[in-house]
């Protein structure tokens, strides 16, 4: 059984290999095999994820920490810094892996059809697989640094894929690459927060691990289950003696989640403490320094620990508030929350499969995953939780509002994604971590479905447009008509919903699946969104009622009110989209010529449509309509309980579903749908002339101003431009023109550096080189001449002189030779 958990490195390895093959041999293997490699890699990760899931369910959902082979540690500096490359297989990470790999596989299949004929087809699949690899690094890591590696990796892939069509003509490519840069820059702000949080965590706790090996994540649950398990065998012990004790132990070991602990419990009762292996239902036996971040945080709060920052120190609660605020900043970047959400709508410049996979289903949920993973910290930081709730709720309603005024089919979905992420973040804020995960999973399915559906529509519109265009050339050889046609060609936007209409009969599969996605997103019973959204609402209600502080209660009620309104917005803008795209009559020739997409695109739609209906039942509320008898009660919540200490707020106080709130939200949703139908449906749809197409709400003087505000996206980008970009540009212009060019180049370079260089050069060449160096060299020469002039006098030329010199020399040599002899004798 242990072997299954050891498979987890494959989650990263398989897509890495896929990306590697596609990067280096993609062009050689061709389009067909390139997509096959990508799809198979993705599908294999799902298989591995499923094996991990089955491992967990067969092993009492006990978390396993895996040290991948050949990777002995990761960062090790002396004895103080040790960050291992450890992978955590627990219920939370496996939940993420399951839905990410499943949705990714379908999107890979879809992309094979959608990207057909693209000149960089293989690179697209390489990027997708690379994204998957980094996503699994993100979710499977057991420490914040691995999370950060994945976090940055998916950010890079996001950048590459948003700007995938950077070379489109007529300035479109420029727009695409700008969108990619915008995403990158907005995320840099968030990453600053992540880094600060990681530094603070490391400073405070001396480790980045979530939990160390052997640590129990949810102590309460473990103890509860140990007690339950202990209750039964103890009776047996009393009545029947030792033989049964052994049996009782065996029963315990099988029946209980944290198997070993119960052996101890049973053993204590029979007085055989030593015989049983030491095992625990809590972490009291581990030293504080040996615990992971969360365990240490809880202990430090109990002890009232002060964190030393050199010149000052702060109480641990304050530090946790700081850490969580920085984490929140990171999450607002990656999960597109106020104030950093502006990049996500622009990110729709990427190919639609990318929007579906990265910017709707998986990557953008990384921020929420990170906060859910850090639930212990967030629960212990009431102030941050309040801010998180407010940010989530505000994002949910503002993005929902903006979505009502958009014409671009993908932009509506982008704002919808931001809005739904706001729901999840608000859920984290009120402490409903399980509900946030639940909504994340269901949202991944139906939002991927909607994006893929919109991609199918766009694809159809493009083909329809080309079709019409081609016929235009065939039919008219008249110069004027051609010219008119070409002009029209440039203006045509296949994503503009004003150009669509009446696609229901042209694309039946896309229509039906899109309808399911819409109903799921709008929260209509029994589609998936209903269950997950209403769990968030119910948990907000619980937080409002039973919150331990006034702040929590306030946040809970505020979140409930805002989120219900946002749910109404959701239903409205989604049905507006349905009416504009699928109902009514085609408003352009292109829309008339639309055909259904290829099977490789529609099959994933059908599968996702199926899941959009049924995926909500993975977490059926416990006391509702008897559904729990069929699908089980709150399965996801109970599954997650093993990794999350705080699955939902104030758990014992109520269920995870509140019929009153649920049906209030449902009623509001249905009302919003009928409202949207009365405004956009029937004969009230847009005029056929697309250029003048005006939204009925804009045409109405009462609502025109509000609609225009939504259409202008609340001037959010413009405000940022005024507040940040304008001053930044002015500052950089000042720095470039005045400071850099005038001062630095003209003055510093020309005057200070060039002239100074000349002066020093002169000094060195004239006095130093010519005077000093040459003087020394010439002096040596002159000295040699002078000495040799003296010496040559010795050469007289007279033989006599040489003879006497020779004689004296011989005498001298003899004296030297004889001297030691004389001394010896003397």
């Amino acid at each position: 059984m242990q072997t299954y958990a050891q498979l987890v490195p494959l989650m990263i390895l398989i897509p890495s290999i896929g990306a590697f093959i596609n990067f280096f041999w993609g062009a050689r293997v061709g389009e067909k095999w390139s997509s096959r490699i990508g799809i198979v890699a993705s599908a294999l990760t799902f298989v591995v994820a499923f094996l991990l899931f089955s491992y967990l369910t067969n092993n009492h959902n006990e978390a396993v920490i895996v040290n991948p082979a050949f990777l002995d540690g990761w960062i090790r500096i002396g004895n103080s810094v040790e960050i291992p490359w450890q992978m955590r297989v627990d219920t939370l990470s496996v939940t993420m892996m399951m839905f990410v790999s499943f949705v990714a596989t379908l999107i890979h299949i879809y992309a094979g059809g959608y990207m057909h004929g693209d000149p960089r087809f293989t690179r697209f699949f390489a990027y997708l697989n690379m994204f998957l690899a980094f996503m699994f690094v993100l979710v499977s890591g057991n420490n914040y640094l691995m999370l950060f590696v994945g976090w940055e990796g998916v950010g890079v892939c996001s950048f590459l894929l948003i700007g995938f069509w950077f070379d489109k003509p007529d300035g479109v490519g420029w727009k695409n690459s700008n969108a990619a840069r915008k995403a990158m820059i907005a995320n840099r702000v968030g990453d600053f927060g992540m880094l600060m949080a990681i530094f603070l965590i490391f400073w405070t706790f001396g480790t980045l691990d979530y939990y160390k090996p052997g640590e129990i994540a949810n102590v309460e649950l473990a103890e509860e289950q140990a007690e339950e398990a202990a209750a039964e065998p103890s009776e047996a012990v009393v009545t029947e003696g030792e033989a049964v004790v052994a049996e009782g132990e065996a029963v315990v070991a099988e029946a209980v989640v944290e198997g070993e602990e119960n052996v101890e419990t049973a053993a204590e009762e029979t007085g055989e403490g030593e015989a049983a292996a030491p095992s625990y239902t809590n972490n009291d036996h581990i030293e504080t320094a040996q615990l992971g971040v969360f365990g240490q945080a809880e202990r430090m709060i109990e002890e009232g620990y002060e964190v030393d920052f050199g010149p000052f120190s702060l109480p641990i609660q304050t530090v946790i508030v700081l850490i969580t605020l920085f984490l929140l900043l990171g999450a607002t970047g990656k999960s597109a929350q106020i104030p950093l959400f502006v990049w996500l709508p622009d990110a729709m410049a990427g190919p639609t499969p990318v929007s579906a996979l990265i910017h709707a289903a998986t990557m953008v949920t990384a921020g929420v995953y990170m906060m859910v993973r850090s639930n212990v910290l967030f629960v212990n930081a009431p102030l941050t939780s309040f801010i998180v709730t407010m940010i989530g709720a505000a994002t949910a309603i503002i993005a929902g509002f903006i979505a009502m005024g958009q014409w671009d089919i993908k932009r509506v979905l982008a704002y919808s994604t931001i809005s739904q992420l706001g729901f999840m973040v608000a859920a984290v804020g009120v402490g409903a971590f399980g509900a946030a995960m639940f909504h994340m999973v269901t949202h991944a399915f139906f939002k991927a479905l909607l994006f893929l559906g919109s991609g199918s529509v766009i694809h159809g519109m493009e083909h329809g447009h080309h079709h019409v265009h081609a016929h235009g050339h065939d039919d008219h050889h008249d110069g004027h008509d051609d010219h008119h046609d070409d002009h029209h060609e440039e203006e045509f936007d296949p994503q503009d919903m004003r150009n669509m209409g009446g696609l229901r009969s042209k694309m039946p599969i896309t229509y039906w699946t899109y309808l399911f996605g819409t109903l799921a997103l709008a929260g209509i019973v029994p589609f998936a969104g209903f269950w997950s959204k209403d769990e968030i609402l119910a948990d907000s209600w619980l937080a409002g009622l039973y919150g331990t502080t006034g702040l929590q209660q306030f946040a809970g009620f505020i979140a409930l009110g805002i989120l219900i309104a946002a749910a109404g917005f959701t239903a409205f803008y989604m049905w507006r989209q349905m009416e504009l795209v699928f109902y009514g009559k085609p408003r352009t020739k292109a829309a008339e010529a639309v055909e259904e997409s290829v099977p490789s695109m529609t099959i994933p739609l059908v599968i996702l449509g199926f899941f959009s209906i049924f995926v909500g039942f993975i977490n059926t509320p416990s006391e509702f309509l008897g559904l729990s008898n069929i699908f089980g009660k709150g399965n996801l919540i109970h599954f997650l309980e093993y990794s999350l200490v705080n699955v939902h707020p104030y758990a014992p106080l109520g269920g995870i579903f509140n019929p009153l709130i649920g049906f209030a939200a449902l009623g509001l949703g249905v009302t919003a749908i009928f409202l949207a139908r009365s405004i956009y449906g029937h004969g009230h749809a847009l005029t056929p002339n697309t250029a003048d197409g005006k939204d009925p709400l804009a045409a109405n003087p009462d609502t025109g101003a509000v609609w225009n505000l939504a259409n202008a996206r609340m001037y959010w980008d413009e405000t940022y431009y005024r507040l940040f970009e304008g001053p930044f540009n002015r500052l950089s212009r000042f720095l470039a023109d005045t400071l850099d060019w005038d001062f630095w180049h003209d003055y510093v370079h020309n005057v200070v550096i060039a002239k100074g260089f000349n002066a020093i050069g002169n000094l060195l060449s004239q006095p130093v080189d010519l005077g000093l160096i040459d003087g020394i060299v010439n002096g040596v020469g002159r000295l040699a001449t002078w000495i040799s002039g003296r010496l040559r006098r010795a050469q007289t030329g007279y033989v006599r002189t040489y003879a006497i010199t020779l004689l004296l020399g011989v005498v001298f040599v003899i004296i030297v030779l004889l001297l030691p002899m004389l001394q010896r004798n003397g």
Binding site: R792, R793, A794, Q795, T796, G797, Y798, V799, R800, A803, I804, L807
Partner: protein
């Protein structure tokens, strides 16, 4: 029998005479003869010591010296003849063209 000391003293006297001749005379022929004197002084000393120690090395050496001296005389006289032909003189004080 005359003692070795006497031979050595005689050899010394002959050597000094030869040396003085080389240093003081200006006639090249005489300088040459003085050189021969010095060589033979040395020969005398060698022979004397050879007799003293009863070793034949000294005698052997003397023969070499006499041979070399003969060769030297031949070369030296030829040089002197050559000098005389160019200078019309054999006064060695006039031969100082090598002066530095």
């Amino acid at each position: 029998m005359v003692g070795t000391e006497a031979y050595v003293v005689l050899s010394m006297v002959l050597f000094i005479l030869g040396a003085m001749g080389v240093l003081l005379r200006r006639n090249a022929i005489l300088v040459f003869m003085s050189v021969e004197l010095m060589l033979n002084a040395a020969n005398l000393a060698l022979v004397a010591f050879a007799r003293q120690w009863g070793a034949s090395d000294g005698h052997l050496f003397v023969f070499f010296v006499i041979t070399v001296a003969a060769a030297e005389v031949a070369v030296g006289l030829a040089l002197i003849v050559a000098i005389f032909r160019t200078k019309k003189s054999i006064d060695i004080d006039e031969l100082h063209q090598m002066e530095g």
